[in-house]
């Protein structure tokens, strides 16, 4: 499984793709592939946001949002990234903008059953929600599962989104247990940040 470290450089102009250097929460999200090393003619690629977005479901799924939801997604990501840098507990800073989205149960390679709480980010006024799981063993790590737009007529977290979070977390933990989890090369590659988890 490929992982992307989500940091504010991705949403800046000029765009930056590198590992961030703060000691707060490190935000990682699953990707479908590594970035290409070279173009078809063998020239080294200068990565653009399009290239990163194409391998990262968290980003390209937001590309299909309506303009208002999309705007809220960017502002929400900005809020999360800036809060992450402080390293403080999420509710201490974000207060009502963060709450639990339910618990999910996953199975580790050694057969143990583990229960994890979904951290759900989202402002009341907006319908965009981001699901994440956090762990603080050595370093503080937040696994950002996915983003979705909440239905207008429901206050509860949709069961389908909880299932998706569970599936993503299970895939991430399987990759960790099988030692196949790796950051995309430009952010350190296979052994780049494995010590984070």
């Amino acid at each position: 499984m490929y992982l992307l470290e989500v940091h504010d450089g991705l949403f800046k102009d000029p765009f930056q793709l590198e590992a961030s250097t703060h000691a707060g929460w490190t935000l990682i999200t699953p990707c479908t592939a590594d970035l290409p090393n070279a173009d078809p003619s063998g020239n080294k690629i200068a990565y653009r946001l399009n290239d990163v977005a194409l391998v990262c479901p968290l980003l390209y799924e937001a590309g299909e949002f309506g303009i208002k939801d999309y705007r809220n997604f960017l502002l929400l990501m900005d809020t999360i990234i800036k809060t992450a840098q402080s390293g403080l507990e999420w509710p201490d800073v974000l207060y009502k903008a963060v709450h639990t989205g339910g618990d999910v149960s996953v199975k580790r390679l050694n057969g143990k059953q583990e229960s994890h709480s979904i951290i759900q980010f989202g402002k009341k006024k907006t319908l965009v929600r981001i699901h994440a799981f956090t762990a603080a063993a050595g370093r503080k790590l937040a696994f950002v599962s996915h983003v979705y737009v909440k239905p207008h007529n429901s206050d509860k977290t949709p069961a389908s989104e909880q299932k998706r979070s569970k599936r993503n977390l299970q895939e991430f933990l399987d990759a960790l247990d099988n030692k196949t989890a790796q950051f995309i090369d430009s952010q350190g590659g296979r052994n780049g940040f494995l010590n984070l988890v």
Binding site: A23, A53, E61, D78, Y95, V149
Partner: protein
């Protein structure tokens, strides 16, 4: 919106749309104002959380209602200088307005200057001579003392006069020294 069944073409289109929209929004002055507002509110929210005071205590000290404080810290309202000053005073801070070029890095807040991954702690006094290399671990000596003295003296002066622009994280070490 589960994308696991999307075609490659749809993913490509969505990724392009994402990148284009982001670039457009970053140029939008209203969006930039909103980001600035959220950043200011968040900086204050982190400072309040770090102060170990409850929000109610901070609201009382700042002479405002808890609901107003919460709204201000969430970035939903346009903060006035007066409100920022009252919140800062309530948690024992003062604030300055520091200007920078748009291309320069943001000024770091107090909590961002403490631990920076991948950098070494520079411990030196600019009025003293550096200790012998053997007294320091290899990494520290490599980082601290390969820099030409004139350069680190330059940096030290710069940091002393402008702590808010301390991109090298040296201000605290200077104070400690």
């Amino acid at each position: 919106m589960d994308s696991s069944i999307w075609s490659e073409e749809r993913k490509q289109n969505a990724a392009n749309r994402f990148a284009n929209r982001t670039q457009q929004l970053l140029k939008d002055s209203y969006f930039r104002s909103e980001k600035r507002r959220i950043k200011t509110g968040l900086d204050l929210a982190v400072a309040v959380a770090e102060s170990k005071l409850t929000r109610q205590d901070v609201a009382d000290r700042a002479g405002m209602k808890l609901s107003l404080l919460s709204r201000q810290l969430s970035g939903d309202v346009n903060l006035t200088l007066d409100s920022i000053g009252r919140i800062c005073e309530a948690i024992g801070y003062e604030f300055d307005m520091v200007l920078r070029r748009a291309t320069e890095r943001e000024a770091r807040q107090p909590w961002q200057q403490r631990h920076v991954r991948g950098t070494y702690t520079l411990t030196f006094d600019r009025n003293s001579t550096p200790p012998a290399k053997t007294q320091l671990p290899l990494e520290k000596s490599r980082t601290s003392y390969k820099t030409p003295p004139c350069l680190w003296q330059e940096r030290a002066r710069y940091v002393e006069t402008s702590p808010a622009n301390d991109h090298y994280g040296m201000h605290e070490q200077l104070l400690e020294a």
